[in-house]
């Protein structure tokens, strides 16, 4: 009789299972534990986390670490992943020819066209008759709203045709309210000093709940400025940039222009065993993934030197070279996942600190490591705890052994084992060698997409959005969940939650999200990110492990690892895979642990099988 431990070091969590091996060679599981992985997976920095989880698990089994006879480590999943993102388009405004943004409260509504004039000149001009053509007044912050409204009112009464205004402060409504007839005012224009004066300009403020129509329509702009057909062609980027905004200004300057241009982001060269292919990053995720599919099996990837993507790929390679202490040339990229997304970026040359939605491409990259590394972890761990440590089998294979402890499961079966860094898969058929595969892109990639698409500053906020469902605080006594269910409270909620979109944790705690996005937008972004990365990768995994590459040849699929813990992914996968006639479900390791602990459990089962064969 002996006591052994299986330890699974993942990219984000380290899991363990403790078992007593009976005299007949069968395992009796005593306890399990989970903790955060310390350091990058497969390095000696993992040791503190391992020791912590060992203490936790042995404690709950009522034994000490010294009582252990053997520790089994997963054989270094030979992959380490990293994620990065590059924007591939940008919007540039030259000569301050456009303001388009959503201030909280623009003044008035309607459209005004006239020459831009500083309010100072409007006031001075009143004394000598004033301008005799329509004007758009520009009001810097130094002018109090009542003073500004007074000047404009006097000008209007003196016969000046004031058509609207561009205001620096948040005074649009205040000024408009103080005029005999309300006029459109675009306010909160931070760099009002950059607005060119004495130029023809158009101001549009849409009614509440609407977006500007005239200025987001090229013919609308052409009508206001009497443009020729050729000139109309040039205003398309302006109109496009103003789509969906509540207020906008377009100024006609001699050389002013808005460009939506592609950033030369570089190209990626896939080197396969049979052929090499190159693809430009700006062609988007679809083209990149198609190219990758053509060069399979992949032996390495290179980014074009001196470009963004080149830097991005070499960065990952360098990090991995440092971690693994291998020469740079020996670090080979094993898989790439490219995902398109839309990210808010500040407009270059904008005068109201505007943002526009630009296209970006995210890449998850996976690098080969080797067994040597894990052996070093094993040696260091053995020294530290004084117990024999062995490497016990390839992760995907042990995961499938663990998954097989699920009640009601049988071979042939395929598993999808998703974590933070990689999506792994394996297939087990009766009497047939287990197929396994490791692909780039998993939970961390989803978090990165959420962070960028919502323009969040912090990674941990995006991480929480990924793992918790949403709700809207409708009053201090009730919230509405994202599925429209209402929950009431006896005591008032914290004032900081008032009217906010919140995340509902497993314990029922509410975490407010500091962003302007509404619940539906956040939900859509979250689900799209999961679809683009997790669903897509799950299907890629199944295609690779399925005999003949056709998913339809699989019958049973079990989800293990953190993918199985996600509150919506299993359902999303089931919806998707039911089209292929596949049974998909979340594993329940040892009938009690759910989708976690499959590898740690599998390590122990694998050990028992090997002992049995030896006898």
């Amino acid at each position: 009789m002996s006591i052994i431990v299986g330890i699974d070091i993942g990219n984000s969590t380290t899991e363990t299972a403790v078992a007593r091996i009976e005299d007949d060679g069968s395992p009796e599981f005593l306890s399990s534990g989970t903790t955060m992985t310390t350091g990058i997976k497969g390095t000696v920095e993992n040791i503190p986390g391992i020791v912590h989880v060992l203490e936790e698990a042995t404690d709950s089994a009522g034994i000490a670490i010294e009582d252990l006879d053997l520790v089994l480590l997963n054989e270094a999943t030979p992959v380490i992943g990293d994620v990065a993102m590059e924007t591939v388009t940008e919007t540039i405004v030259t000569e301050s020819s456009m303001v388009g943004h959503n201030p909280g409260s623009p003044g008035g509504k309607g459209i005004g066209v006239g020459k831009t004039i500083h309010i100072r000149d409007l006031e001075d001009g009143e004394r000598n008759g004033g301008p005799d053509e329509p004007v758009i007044v520009v009001v810097p912050r130094e002018y109090d709203f009542e003073v500004a409204a007074g000047i404009i009112r006097e000008a209007v009464e003196a016969g000046v045709e004031v058509q609207g205004g561009i205001i620096q402060g948040d005074d649009g409504v205040l000024i408009s309210n103080r005029l005999p007839d309300p006029l459109p005012f675009v306010d909160e224009v931070a760099h009002v000093d950059k607005v060119p004066l004495d130029m023809l300009a158009a101001v549009e403020v849409a009614p509440k709940g609407h977006a500007v129509r005239q200025l987001s329509n090229p013919y609308g702009i052409a009508t206001l400025f009497s443009l020729s057909p050729e000139e109309t062609g040039h205003v398309i980027p302006i109109a496009k940039a103003l789509v969906g905004l509540r207020s906008a200004v377009v100024i006609r300057t001699p050389a002013g222009d808005v460009q939506s241009k592609q950033i030369p982001a570089g190209s990626i060269k896939f080197m396969g065993e049979h052929q090499n292919l190159t693809v430009e990053l700006e062609r988007g995720a679809e083209a990149i993934m198609d190219t990758l599919a053509h060069v399979q099996p992949l032996s390495d990837v290179q980014g074009e030197a001196g470009t963004n993507v080149g830097g991005m790929i070499e960065n990952v390679r360098q990090t991995m070279a440092d971690v693994t202490e291998k020469p740079l040339a020996d670090v080979n990229i094993h898989d790439v996942l490219a995902v398109d997304c839309l990210v808010p970026q500040q407009v270059v040359g904008g005068i109201a600190d505007e943002f526009s939605i630009e296209t970006a491409t995210g890449l998850a990259i996976m690098v080969d490591t080797d067994r040597l590394l894990m052996e070093r972890v094993a040696e260091t761990l053995a020294e530290k705890i004084g117990v024999r440590v062995e490497l016990g089998g390839v992760e995907a294979n042990t995961a499938i052994l663990g998954a097989l402890t699920t009640p009601g499961i049988d071979v042939p079966v395929a598993i999808i084992d998703g974590g933070a860094g990689s999506t792994d898969g394996a297939e087990l058929q009766k009497g047939k060698v287990v197929e396994h595969v490791h692909l780039a892109g998993a939970g961390n990639m989803v978090t990165l997409l959420i962070k960028n698409e919502l323009g969040l500053e912090r990674f941990d906020v995006a991480e929480q959005i990924k793992i918790y469902p949403l709700a809207k605080v409708e009053s201090l006594f009730h919230i509405r969940h994202e599925d429209n269910g209402v929950q009431f409270f006896e005591e008032p909620l914290d004032p900081s939650l008032f009217a906010r979109v919140v995340l509902v944790t497993d314990d029922g705690d509410l975490i407010p999200i500091e962003s302007k996005h509404n619940l539906d937008r956040i939900k859509t972004v979250r689900q799209e990110a999961k679809r683009k990365v997790l669903l897509r990768n799950s299907i890629r995994v199944l295609e690779r492990i399925s005999p003949s590459g056709n998913i339809r040849f699989l019958d049973f699929v079990a989800i293990v690892g953190r993918f199985g813990l996600d509150f919506e992914l299993p359902q999303m996968l089931m919806n998707e895979l039911s089209n292929y006639g596949i049974v998909v479900g979340v594993a329940n390791v040892r009938g009690e642990l759910g989708p976690t602990n499959a590898v740690a459990t599998g390590l122990i089962i694998n050990y028992c099988q090997r002992q049995g064969e030896a006898k």
Binding site: S105, V173, S475, L476, F477, P492, D494, P495, F498, E514
Partner: protein, 194 residues
């Protein structure tokens, strides 16, 4: 351009009592509640000599810019800011109130909260300037509309306590002398004088 900053536009105002303050029914109002001595009773200005009239004007402006209505009342029964704000929130059609003391301390309250836990509290009167008052009003109006603005940023001056605590206490003691414990809150009409 000599008179183009907000502080110089209004120095004085007239406050006229127009009967007992009723519970509002329109959901688009924010109630501004004044402490017993605010405005015409004692100093007419805060610790840092900001005229009370100028503060009220900024509060009005911030609320108007959000297209919400302001209603002014005076709470007589207490000089305690939380009590004033809570009373006012219960009278407010939107459930949102702004309460302000003579020395300048301010808060935003909501009727469903417990009295001592307001939505936003601005405890250091000396570090609140007119643009902050405007921002406070804007936030209150947005709460009334069911929005969730970011809390008003506050300057935390570690020297504010040693420098102002004594005089702030005297201010408060003086203000408390104006309290009429049995008096109901009254509605006020505000007329600014140039």
């Amino acid at each position: 351009m000599s008179e183009n900053t907000a502080t110089q536009v209004v120095q004085e105002m007239e406050l006229k009592e127009v009967g007992e303050a009723k519970t509002g029914s329109s959901p688009d109002e924010v109630v501004i509640a004044l402490s017993p001595a605010f405005g015409d009773q004692m100093h007419r200005q805060t610790l840092t000599k900001i005229p009370h009239a100028a503060i009220l004007r900024e509060l009005f402006a911030g609320i108007e810019e959000e297209e919400v209505k302001a209603r002014v009342i005076r709470v007589w029964r207490s000089s305690d800011l939380a009590a004033i704000g809570f009373d006012a929130a219960k009278l407010s059609g939107s459930g949102i109130s702004i309460a302000i003391q003579s020395r300048g301390t301010t808060l935003i309250h909501q009727r469903d909260l417990v009295p001592l836990a307001p939505m936003e509290l601005f405890p250091q009167a000396p570090s609140i300037d007119l643009s902050t008052y405007r921002h406070i009003a804007r936030n209150a109006a947005q709460y009334a509309k069911g929005d969730h603005p970011s809390p008003v940023p506050q300057v935390n001056d570690p020297m504010a306590r040693p420098k102002w605590q004594a005089i702030a206490s005297v201010f408060h003691i003086r203000e408390t002398e104006f309290v009429k414990p049995d008096e109901k809150p009254v509605e006020l009409e505000v007329n600014f004088k140039k």
